[in-house]
Amino acid sequence: MESYGVILFHTTSSVMCAEKALAGEGCVVKLIPTPREFSSDCGIALRFDWDEYEKVTSLVAAAQLEINAIHRM
């Protein structure tokens, strides 16, 4: 079974920036409504393949985006 991770950011602008940076590097990402159990912080969250955890988090760090939280789902 596939496993996903969800990254929550503070602001939608960061979500958009992360999506661009990750998609540009070939990561499979999808923007989804933030699951309520995680937070109501920002309406949109970024879903990624958990297998790509290292790549995704390092690319987000390289883009100097502040992560609010990362959850596995």
Binding site: T11, T12, G43
Partner: protein, 387 residues
């Protein structure tokens, strides 16, 4: 019809701007950052892409430092009213638009010391005068990049160096230069850049922004507006991070999409080439109008030192009558009066009557300029004939 009121708002807009505005409402009509569905996400992407384009255009440190507003006035108000506290001192020039002067006069009543440095009659500012007025209590220097009345460019980089030495921030009102003069915030040392989308940038009205430099402590700027941002919705307090802190309320997504298309159009054309062409038009306008009987031309009379704005008065003639006759008899649209800048008119010596202002734009041709010069000549002659 010849439209020479581009300093008020540029017209016509490039066709891709109109298309982008309707397209976004059709295909990305959600509320950006509020919901998680596809239309909301599509709108958020348009907004973020525009943020990136603006950051690149002005050499801003980070797209998150681009705050969208309805116009330059709102951006200037965020900076002035958010930053200045009672006891602070602020320095400005006598060439400012009321977008700067009115907030400052209001702040003055709340205990902020406002120093206005007089400019010369051609609208130019001596850097030494600015330097002499700065003191350790100076929190901010605010100047326009170019005057909306005389077109005169102010020495932004030099003023920035002076402000920096005194630990003051520099806010630049780029309403008349964004899109027609290259602006590099970092190279020019601009801490806060207020721009409007609907003039030189060729975008729609209702767009603009404040770009915040990396040296500005954002925690010291109070928002002008508080409200929903789509973030930290569990809290009743305003989020502290950019851009949300200053962007409460549903944004003008069709305007922002239009602005993005305008930036693309302008970038293809090249700001340098727009500038080169406008200098040519300005030169022709100054030379032609200066040669007409009774005409006084204001400003530096040198396109190298101004943007494409030429203000005139005609001896013994009312500006409003000149403007009306140019419109009705010749189809030439100018702007007469005080141009929301009484201080600037006092400086150049045209207060309270004001001037007749001609502001060519990217679609103005040299043939248009010749037609305008001829028409002004006819207005003067026919007046003399009728007496």
């Amino acid at each position: 019809m010849i439209y020479l009121d581009n300093a008020a708002t540029s017209w016509p807009k490039p066709p891709p701007v109109l298309k982008a505005m309707t397209d976004v409402l059709e295909s990305a009509g959600g509320n950006p950052g509020r919901s998680g569905h596809r239309l909301s996400i599509a709108a958020a992407r348009v907004m973020y892409d525009t943020r990136e384009d603006i950051a690149r255009f002005f050499h801003a440190p980070d797209p998150m430092h681009v705050i969208f507003t309805g116009n330059a006035t709102q951006a200037i108000n965020i900076a002035l009213r958010g930053l200045l506290k009672p006891g602070d001192s602020v320095i400005t020039s006598s060439m400012e638009h009321n977008a700067v002067m009115r907030p400052l006069r209001s702040l003055e009543k709340r205990g902020i010391l406002v120093k206005v440095i007089p400019a010369a009659r051609d609208g130019s500012l001596k850097v030494e005068d600015m330097s002499g007025a700065i003191s350790p209590g100076t929190r901010l220097v605010v100047i326009n990049h170019a005057s909306n009345v005389a077109g005169t460019l102010l020495p932004v980089s030099e003023v920035s160096a002076i402000a920096r030495r005194a630990n003051a921030l520099l806010l630049v009102d780029a309403a008349q230069t964004a899109g027609v003069i290259p602006i590099d915030m970092q190279a020019m040392g601009i801490d806060l850049l207020a721009f409007t989308g609907h003039k030189g940038l060729q975008g729609p009205p209702g767009t603009g922004g404040l770009v915040i430099g990396s040296g500005v402590d954002v925690s010291r700027i109070e928002p002008l507006m508080y409200g929903g941002t789509g973030s930290q919705s569990e809290l009743e307090e305003q989020p502290p991070f950019l851009p949300d802190k200053f962007e409460s309320g549903t944004p003008n997504i069709s305007g922002i999409a239009g602005l993005r298309a305008a930036l693309g159009w302008l970038t293809d054309r090249g700001v340098e080439s727009v500038r080169a062409r406008e200098k040519e038009l300005t030169r022709a306008l100054i030379d032609g109008l200066s040669g007409l009987p009774g005409v006084s031309v204001y400003g530096p009379l040198d396109p190298e030192r101004s943007v494409a704005i030429v203000s005139i008065t005609i001896k013994g003639r009312q500006n409003s009558e000149v403007g009306l006759r140019l419109d009705e008899e010749h189809g030439i649209l100018s702007r007469v009066g005080l141009h929301c800048a009484p201080a600037a008119h006092k400086t150049i010596g045209s207060f309270p009557e004001g001037t007749v202002r001609f502001a060519p734009g990217v679609f103005t041709t040299i043939a248009d300029i010749h037609t305008v010069i001829k028409a002004v000549g006819e207005v003067i002659r026919s007046w003399k004939a009728t007496g």
